[in-house]
């Protein structure tokens, strides 16, 4: 009880200052310096319609490389935290009971369409609100759907490793190509195309596809790892 009171006291102080500070920030009035620059320049320099994508993948592409790494690390870290040596003759941990037949049938129909949606989202990352992360997340969700529907649905971690490694390497290599060509790391070296065209934005599209694959495989791996380890058979501590 004292703790709760104390926490509330602290939070009211912190809250007071946060409100005080943020309410001094004018709301909805003007864009900032760099924001303006990006909006003006990204359709001209990069021919990318989505300024956010232009920032994420090009102007601040380095952040995104880091972001991809964070996700990769989360997957790796999760794997290492959850890692458990399999006992001899131990079977794959499975859900207790089967899923509804109706859901199973429905998933079969929806699965390819959701995958396609994911693909669409990351392929059109520079044209629409989508992007590699969003598309990848959608694809991972499709895997989640299958994992929910089928107890025996197995994620092939080998494939996942291949995909995420290659996608990551593609991203980093695209960066190095810039260096090799005597420019800067991650600099766009492809023609920019026309605004609102699928083939615009130079390397942005390629990077986002790589990101999409990477995110999809990583999130899938994460989901599968968590589910596998959370099942009753896996509960027994070694």
């Amino acid at each position: 009880m004292i703790k709760q009171f104390f926490v509330i006291l602290i939070l009211s102080i912190v809250g007071y200052f946060l409100v005080d500070a943020f309410f001094k920030v004018p709301f909805g009035e003007k864009r900032n310096n760099v924001g303006n620059y990006y909006i003006e320049k990204s359709p001209v320099d990069l021919k990318v319609s989505n300024a956010v994508t232009a920032i994420v993948v090009n102007y601040r592409g380095f952040d995104t490389l880091g972001e991809v790494t964070v996700l990769f690390l989360a997957a790796t870290g999760l794997g290492s935290i959850m890692y458990r040596r399999k006992q001899k003759g131990e079977k794959e941990a499975r859900a207790k009971n089967p899923s509804s037949r109706i859901i199973q049938i429905g998933s079969q129909i929806l699965f390819p369409m959701i995958i396609l949606l994911g693909g669409y989202v990351f392929i059109h990352g520079h044209l629409s609100p989508g992007g590699g992360f969003q598309g990848g997340a959608i694809i991972a969700t499709a895997s989640l759907l299958m994992l929910i529907s089928y107890r025996k649905f197995k994620i092939n971690h080998n494939t996942i490793t291949w995909i995420e490694s290659i996608a990551g390497v593609v991203f980093a290599s695209l960066g190095f190509v810039g260096l090799v060509l005597g420019r800067t790391f991650l600099e766009n070296f492809l023609p920019s195309g026309e605004l609102n065209d699928l083939l615009s934005g130079g390397i942005i599209g390629i990077i986002y596809i790589a990101v999409g694959f990477k995110v999809a495989s990583e999130l899938t791996g994460v989901i599968d790892t968590v589910l596998l380890n959370n099942r009753p058979e896996a509960q027994k501590e070694n």
Binding site: K3, F6, V7, I10, L11, I13, V14, F17
Partner: protein
């Protein structure tokens, strides 16, 4: 090559080499270390007194040279170093990890030379710390209770070292330099209160090494626990580094007006002398006894220095040199007993005079020197001290010194009696005289003791040089060292000892010869059982050797004074601190959520405080 660098390379390089030699060619080790020290002595004594070197390291300007004061202490270090390492070759025979031992031994010697040649406070501290850990490594080399004893030593050394460091950086903060020459010039500009602080901090630093009360508690354990061959150096030379430091403080680093500092030091030293003597008296282990005696003796030395008068300082330095000589001998002698008889417990060992006559002789001479009995050097030193104190109106100090000197007779006698006289126990029948490498250093040092009484001039001359560097005018008559002796000259118009000394010396020598000779011949050999007990059957637990509880009445008399050892205060203080620290530990209560609350509470606090800080 600059002989200062050569000296350091010799000792430190030799230290590493001795380690390697012990590993790969142990047979050459002993010869190597002795030769090395001979070489060191050669380089040291043939060194041009103007030799110096200046350089910069890590942006700090450093300067090395031997001042004449440093040279005086350097003599102690190099000679005692040579002798004690020679002694070691026999004493340490058969012990393991000798590479470790000699390496640290030589590190100690090297670091002492380094301290002495330092003309800047950083080098001084640098070598001071090397001295600390190298000697520490020997303190914990063997024996029981190393945990406690080593820890005590290192903790006190650390306290001392860091007080010193604090003083050093404060000095630097005011003067902008670490060079002693720069500091001497500008030190007087510092406010008196800061001067006092600096002096106190430095006193703590040097006081630890010279075992000044109440910083002495490490000393008895460390002295008695180390191998005796090292203790000889430890007590004889290493502790003198503290004295050397005191002289720096007293004569170079505080202005003369600050009489308070002198008084404080003198009184602390006096208390040290008295209490340590009392402790010495009640010890039953010869090593412990000598350890406390060392502490007491260092007290005299410091009193002399702190008196600040010409004669007093001279007395202090004289006693310092002499103490190195006779205490070195005594530790070596006790070491010899330990080596041959296996123990230094005076309640067990007895009657070794026939088994180890040379050791006994060396001990006897040293004891005489120690106790200040004429005609040996101790007497000369003490006499000078009394006179210095009286002429500077320090009557209470005189009483203290006198009290302590008197009590010193008690333990002096006890050690002689305890180890060498009395009944011969059958279990020590096999005991033989110590081997030559041990005897020679002892006898050489005894020789110096004897000489120091009759020819104090050979010591007083370098002392006078040293004092010149402290800012005293030379007062000794300008004559050869051998002329400056009780036999051939008066030394100044104030002290009229000559005739007395001559006669006393003559009587003493005759008596000594006679007593020893007769006593040796006429001794009746009895066993412990051979005691008439008026019809009662003696039980095993009955204490029939009066070596136990030797000074029981005396102990009873001084007990109230000693009942609660300073040690205990430290222990209580430490325990209190630890309990407090355990409370602090509770901050990390293991609940991660609390840690998160700390974070937010801290944030809230900062935000509130920020209103003041940033004017919002």
């Amino acid at each position: 090559m600059n002989s200062l660098i050569l000296l350091l390379i010799l000792v430190f390089g030799g230290a590493l080499l001795s380690y390697l030699l012990n590993k790969f060619l142990p047979i050459l080790r002993d010869g190597f270390v002795v030769l090395l020290m001979l070489l060191v002595n050669y380089v040291f004594f043939t060194m041009d007194s103007a030799t110096q070197i200046e350089f910069e390291i890590g942006g700090i300007h450093l300067q090395w040279a031997f001042s004449s004061a440093a040279f005086l202490f350097g003599i102690i270090v190099s000679i005692l170093g040579l002798l004690s390492i020679t002694y070691s070759t026999a004493y340490m025979q058969g012990k393991d990890r000798l590479g470790y031992f000699y390496m640290n031994f030589l590190f100690s010697i090297g670091s002492m030379l380094g301290i002495l040649m330092s003309r800047d406070l950083i080098s001084l501290f640098f070598f001071w710390e090397i001295m600390t850990w190298s000697s520490y490594l020997i303190v914990i080399y063997s024996g029981k209770d190393v945990d406690k004893r080593g820890l005590k030593y290192i903790v006190f050394s650390a306290i001392g070292a860091y007080s010193m460091l604090m003083a050093i950086v404060i000095i630097y903060g005011f003067t902008g330099s670490f060079l002693l020459t720069d500091i001497f010039d500008s030190i007087f500009a510092i406010k008196a209160s800061y001067q006092l602080a600096i002096a106190i901090l430095l006193m703590i630093g040097f006081g630890v090494k010279s075992a000044m009360m109440p910083l002495h508690v490490w000393a008895s354990g460390a002295y008695s626990g180390s191998p005796m061959s090292f203790t000889a150096l430890f007590s004889g030379a290493l502790s003198k580094m503290g004295v050397f430091g005191f002289s720096l403080v007293l004569f170079n680093l505080v202005s003369n007006q600050n009489w308070l500092i002198n008084e404080i030091i003198a009184w602390l030293a006096a208390i040290t002398a008295v209490l340590a003597t009392f402790y010495a008296v009640i010890q039953s282990d010869a090593k412990k006894l000598l350890a406390y005696s060392s502490i007491a003796q260092l007290g005299y030395i410091v009193i002399g220095l702190a008196s600040g008068t010409y004669l007093g300082v001279m007395a202090g330095l004289f006693l310092a040199v002499l103490h190195a000589v006779f205490k070195g001998t005594l530790f070596m002698a006790v070491g010899a007993v330990e080596k041959q008889a296996g123990t230094t417990d005076m309640t067990k060992v007895s009657g070794l005079i026939r088994k180890m006559p040379w050791t006994f002789t060396a001990s006897l001479i040293s004891i005489i020197a120690l106790a200040g009995i004429p005609p040996l050097g101790g007497f000369v030193g003490k006499w000078m001290l009394y006179e210095a104190l009286i002429t500077s109106d320090h009557y209470y100090l005189v009483i203290m010194v006198f009290l302590s000197s008197t009590a010193a007779f008690l333990y002096s006698y006890r050690i002689l009696f305890g180890l060498f006289l009395g009944q011969e126990e059958p279990e020590f029948a096999h005991v033989k005289e110590a081997p030559l490498p041990m005897l020679i250093p002892m006898l050489l040092l005894s020789g110096i003791s004897v000489l120091s009484g009759t020819f104090p001039g050979f010591i007083l001359e370098p002392i006078q040089n040293a004092m010149v560097s402290f800012g005293f005018d030379p007062r000794l008559p300008n004559i050869e060292w051998w002329q400056l002796s009780v036999l051939f000259n008066s030394w100044g118009d104030k002290v009229v000892l000559q005739n007395v000394m001559i006669s006393i010396t003559a009587v003493f020598l005759i008596a000594l010869t006679l007593i020893t000779w007769k006593g040796y011949k006429k001794q009746r050999y009895v066993t412990t059982k051979d005691i008439s007990s008026s019809g009662e059957i003696i039980q095993a637990e009955d204490n029939m050797t009066f070596q136990i509880d030797f000074y029981k009445p005396f102990e009873r008399a001084i007990w109230p004074l000693l009942k609660r050892k300073i040690d205990d205060y430290y222990t209580d203080f430490g325990n209190g601190l630890e309990a407090l620290f355990d409370l602090v530990k509770r901050i990390y209560n293991g609940n991660g959520q609390f840690y998160a609350i700390y974070v937010m509470a801290f944030l809230a606090l900062l935000l509130i405080a920020g209103t003041k800080y940033f004017g919002f």
